[in-house]
Symmetry: C2
Subunit: 193 residues, 2 copies
DNA sequence: ATAACTCGTTGACTTAAGTTAAGAAATGAA
DNA sequence: TTCATTTCTTAACTTAAGTCAACGAGTTAT
């Protein structure tokens, strides 16, 4: 299992066996059952999540309705806003498949950064990459219609459409579940003619 | 002018006079005229922009139409996606007010990081903050109607509505300029009754 | 096995955004 | 100033998303 992590890290920096052992000794690998809520609205947490296997999602409850805004799957990291802002969380995080997650916190990170400054470089580079990537995603969202967003998702993350309930996908695409249903029917209809 | 920068940095780390002098000696402060294009589509660039004063925007040209997706004003940083991906840029960056901008590049950064590791911490923390903040913005965008987005912007960045042309604001809000016009008229109508 | 729920789809209707076109208002240049 | 261009608004019409309700399929719990 750890190999997945080290393969990922090796794309950015090379680690010695000693360094790898330090990581393993932190003992932060967790198996989480589907349905587990990792973070509640209003909660103060300092945990970050690195998904090794499985899928977690962030969602809000607005006027009693769940609004899913993001999914994190294999090799994706989520540091909740509340960890940065040190304010109560505005959203929930739940595990939507049985998953293996690395759970870390800022104190641990600082400790590792002090021992191996290389890790801070890694985290800086990862953050900068994610930020730029997310900006592109946001741009694409803004400049696309719901239908284009769906077709785009079909290309870029086809797995998500399989593994995630439609009503969660709908709010992820910024629309209502009924609209997603109709939009899909519309696409099929177009392709027939 | 530099004081603006150092005041900003001091929120995150404290700098000695020596360190400040190093920054100044890099001589990266630039005054940019309104209308200047800082980055063209298809261009490979390695420049990052820190806006000390003024405003820059990113925009795409899609089917011959400009789509503005982001604005950066005082104390905001933009590292274009192409700097990270090392691929040609998909968007343009232009300066929409006479501005003072700090222009840096990865080589300069590495040099500074080596002299003062503290700066890499600063950049990591800034990136992580920006990432979490941007995620919240994206979430809010997804879960709001165009009208709510406009009202939200009125609260959170009222200056933008003043300093930016409406048709650029419209695509920033993910709609057409005509829709923004009608939406504003609708809001005024509501408040009358 | 049955009841209760969740989930996805469909239909009828409402509302608002997209489209196209025209014109008014503001801005900039000659 | 005057002309041209850009920006913003309005109108008429089309398209699609939102809303509300109903239904069937699948799941879970009792």
């Amino acid at each position: 299992m750890q190999d997945l992590l080290f393969d990922f890290i090796s794309k950015y920096v090379s680690l010695t066996e000693d360094e790898k052992n330090i990581i393993i000794s932190l003992n932060t690998f967790r198996t989480i059952k589907k349905g587990t809520i990792l973070l509640n609205e209003g909660q103060n947490s300092n945990e970050s999540y690195f998904v090794l296997k499985g899928c977690i999602r962030t969602y809000y409850i607005i006027d009693g309705v769940e609004k899913t805004t993001a999914f994190y799957t294999e090799m994706e990291v989520l540091t909740p806003h509340c960890v940065i802002s040190k304010a109560p969380s505005e959203y929930y995080i739940s595990c939507i498949e049985d998953s293996i997650i690395i759970i870390s916190n800022p104190e641990m990170e600082v400790e590792v950064f002090n021992k191996f400054p290389k890790f801070e470089s890694l985290c800086r580079i990862l953050s900068e990459e994610l930020l730029a990537k997310q900006q592109i995603d946001f741009d694409k969202f803004k400049t696309s219609s719901p239908e284009q967003r769906y077709l785009n998702l079909l290309q870029s993350r086809p797995d998500l459409i399989q593994r995630v309930p439609q009503h969660q996908l709908a709010s992820f695409l910024g629309i209502k579940p009924e609209s997603l249903s109709r939009l899909k029917a519309r696409i099929i209809e177009k392709n027939k003619v």
